[in-house]
Symmetry: C2
Subunit: 359 residues, 2 copies
C-alpha cells in the first residue's frame, strides 16, 4: 500500500511520475539505455534537458529577462552562492529573517559580506510576515534576501513588495511550482527540487540576466551563475536523472492544468487542514492566518504527552512522516503538490477521531 507521505522533503512524488520512471528505467523510448546512462552531451539527454527547461519556463511564465539554471548543492549551498554571485563591488546585503531557513541564509552570507538583518520576527516566534514598513533597508545593499516559504515554521509570503532598483532574492525552495509567481519582481529565485519539483540533488535558480556580471573572483566556476548560464547548465555534468524527474513532474503539472489549477487545489487542501486545527482546542497552529503556509502546516497537541501516540496511530493508517521539526516540536504536515486532497482528508479524519478518543 502506498502511504500518504507528509515529509517536508525529500517528499512525495506523483504516482504517475514514479510509474513512468519505473517503466522507462531500462530503456528510455527505444534508445536502448536508461536515462541514467545517457551522455549529457548526447541527443537523447539534450532533448530531456531542453524539455525540462522549457516546461519550467512555461509553468512559471518566466519572462525573457530571466535565465533558468539547473545546479547542485540545494538551498544551503545557494546561501553562499547568492552572495558570491551578487555582491559585485558592494559589501552589504539585507536579510529579512522570518524563520529557520532565512536565518541560515543570513548567517552563511556573513562569510562574504555585512549581512544585515533588515527585520527579524524571531522575538514573536516566527509566526508572521513583517510588512514592508518594518524592513530597515540599507541604501548600499547589493540585494535584499527573503525566504518566501519557511518550511520549518510554516510561514509563507502571500506576496512580495516591489523594491525598486535593489534586486530581491528569494529562497522559494518549499513552494516553488505550488502557485504562480510574478518572476519579474525578483532579481533571483532559487530552491532545492526535493519538495515540489523533483528529487534531492537538483537546485533550480532563476536569475535576471543583467545580474550575471557581479560574481566575486573567489566564486567557484561551477557555481558562477554566468558560467552556468553560458553553458546552458552543462558547465559541469548536470544531475541528469534528477533533471529527468523534474521534467516528468513538469509534464504532470501541465496535465493537471498548470500552476493556476494546482494553486486552487493547494488552497483547498490547506484550508481544510487549518480549519480542522482551528475549530478544535486540542490542536493548535501559532502562525498568523495571513502568513500561514499552504505547503507546511506545523501543529501541536494540547496534551504533548500524546505526541507519540498520535504519530503511531497515524502510521497505522498509512499517514507517514508527520513528526514536527525538532526546533518547533509537535507535528508537521507538508502538503505539497503531489499530496492529493484524499490524503489531507484522511489526515483530518484521523485528527478528528484521535481527538474524540482523548475526550
Amino acid at each position: 500500500m502506498r502511504a500518504y507521505n507528509f515529509s517536508a522533503g525529500p517528499a512525495a512524488l506523483p504516482l504517475e511520475v514514479l510509474q513512468q520512471a519505473a517503466d522507462e528505467m531500462l530503456d528510455w523510448q527505444g534508445s536502448g539505455m536508461s536515462v541514467m546512462e545517457m551522455s549529457h552531451r548526447g541527443r537523447e539527454y539534450t532533448s530531456i534537458h531542453e524539455a525540462a527547461l522549457g516546461d519550467l519556463r512555461e509553468l512559471l511564465a518566466i519572462p525573457s529577462s530571466h535565465r533558468v539554471l539547473l545546479m547542485q548543492g540545494g538551498g544551503l549551498a545557494e546561501n553562499a552562492i547568492v552572495p558570491l554571485n551578487l555582491l559585485g563591488a558592494r559589501r552589504r546585503a539585507d536579510y529579512v529573517v522570518t524563520g529557520s531557513w532565512s536565518g541560515k541564509s543570513q548567517k552563511e552570507a556573513l562569510r562574504y559580506c555585512d549581512a544585515h538583518v533588515a527585520v527579524s520576527t524571531a522575538a514573536g516566534g516566527f509566526v508572521r510576515v513583517p510588512s514592508l514598513d518594518e524592513w530597515q533597508l540599507s541604501p548600499d545593499a547589493a540585494y535584499v534576501h527573503v525566504c518566501t516559504n519557511e518550511t520549518v515554521n510554516g510561514v509563507e509570503f502571500a506576496e512580495v513588495p516591489a523594491l525598486g532598483d535593489v534586486p530581491l532574492v528569494a529562497d522559494i525552495s518549499s513552494h516553488m511550482l505550488s502557485r504562480p509567481l510574478d518572476i519579474a519582481r525578483y532579481g533571483a529565485l532559487y530552491g532545492g527540487a526535493q519538495k515540489n519539483v523533483g528529487i534531492a540533488g537538483l537546485t533550480v535558480v532563476i536569475v535576471r540576466e543583467d545580474l550575471l556580471d557581479r560574481a566575486l573572483a573567489i566564486c567557484p566556476s561551477a557555481f558562477e551563475w554566468k558560467t552556468v548560464a553560458q553553458n546552458n547548465s552543462m558547465y559541469n555534468t548536470p544531475p541528469t536523472y534528477a533533471i529527468y524527474i523534474a521534467g516528468l513532474v513538469c509534464q504532470w503539472l501541465k496535465r493537471q492544468g498548470g500552476l493556476a489549477e494546482i494553486e486552487r487545489r493547494n488552497i483547498a487542501k490547506a484550508r481544510l487542514l487549518y480549519e480542522t486545527i482551528d475549530r478544535s482546542a486540542f490542536y493548535a497552529n501559532p502562525v498568523q492566518p495571513d502568513a500561514r503556509s499552504r505547503m507546511n502546516v506545523p501543529f501541536t497537541l494540547a496534551d504533548e504527552s500524546r505526541n507519540a501516540a498520535f504519530l503511531d496511530g497515524a502510521r497505522e493508517r498509512g499517514l507517514t512522516q508527520l513528526k514536527g521539526h525538532k526546533s518547533v516540536g509537535g507535528m508537521r504536515a507538508s502538503i505539497y503538490n503531489a499530496m492529493p486532497m484524499a490524503g489531507v482528508e484522511a489526515l483530518v479524519d484521523y485528527m478528528t477521531a484521535f481527538e474524540r478518543e482523548q475526550a
Copy 2:
C-alpha cells in the same frame, strides 16, 4: 534491445542495478514509498545511506584514518573545493598536469592560490605519466594534485609515488572502484559518481581526518569537508537517490567478487581492445603502453574521413556513444566496470570487420 554503451560518463550501469531500481521504484521494501520520497532523516533512508558508506569503505579498504563524504557538484566543483579546504595558511599548491582534467584543476585553483604546474606532459600531447624525478615540487606546497585517470586523453597512473609529508590529492573520477587503491597514500581523493559509482549528481570525497582543519573562511559551509564530515554527509540534503544507486552498484560489485576481481576483468577487457588497435595499421592509440587507461580508450582511424561511417556502423550493431572527445577527435571507448567482456568483444569484432571492408 539494450545497447553496449561506451559513453565516458554518465555511463552504462549494470543491468541488475537498473532492474532493482525499477522494481523498487514505487515501494521500497514494503515502506510504502519510493526511495525518491524518503526524508533523508528517516530510518529507511538512513539505512540506505549507512549501507552505501559502509560498502564504499569495504570495497576500497579505506583505513580508519580517512573519512568518506558524499557531496554534490562533480569533479569540476571539487577543483575549487579542494583548495578551499586544504590551503590553510599556505598560498601554493603543486599540480601534475597529464591531460585535460588535471589542466582544468590547475586553472581553477588559480582563483585561490599560486597553483604551480610541477610538471606538464602537454608538449608531447598528453600520452604519458611523468616519473617522479620530473615533478618540480615546491617546498611550501599545501598539497600535490594529480588526476590518476585522464578520461579525455586515456592516460592512467599505474601507481602514485609516496610524497612524504605533503598530502597527495587525486581526482579519481573515471577509475574509482575499477581497481584496488592504496588509500593510505593519499591525503584526499575525489570523483564524480557518473562513471563507475553510479549516476551524475553525486561526488565521492575521501579525506584524511587530520586534514579537515585547513579550510579557508571563504569556503561555503555546504562544501566544507569538516562540516560535511561532522554531519555524516547530511549537512545539506544529500542527493538521496544518487546515493541509493551508488549503494546498489556497490552491492553488485561485492557480488562480482570485489575490486580484485573487477580489476582482473578490466585488465582483460582493456588488453583485448588495445591488442586489436595495436595489431592493425588502420587503428591507432597514441598513449605509451605503461600509461594506457583501462577505462577510457581513445583511438583514431588511419583514414579519418571514415569516422562517420565507423560510428554509423557501430550504432547499427548496438555499439553506442563511441565518438571521441572533441579535443582529441576520433573515437573513444569507455569500458567501465559495467561494460561486460561481451561488449568489448562485440566492439573488436566490429573493428576487425570494418577494417576489412575498407581494404
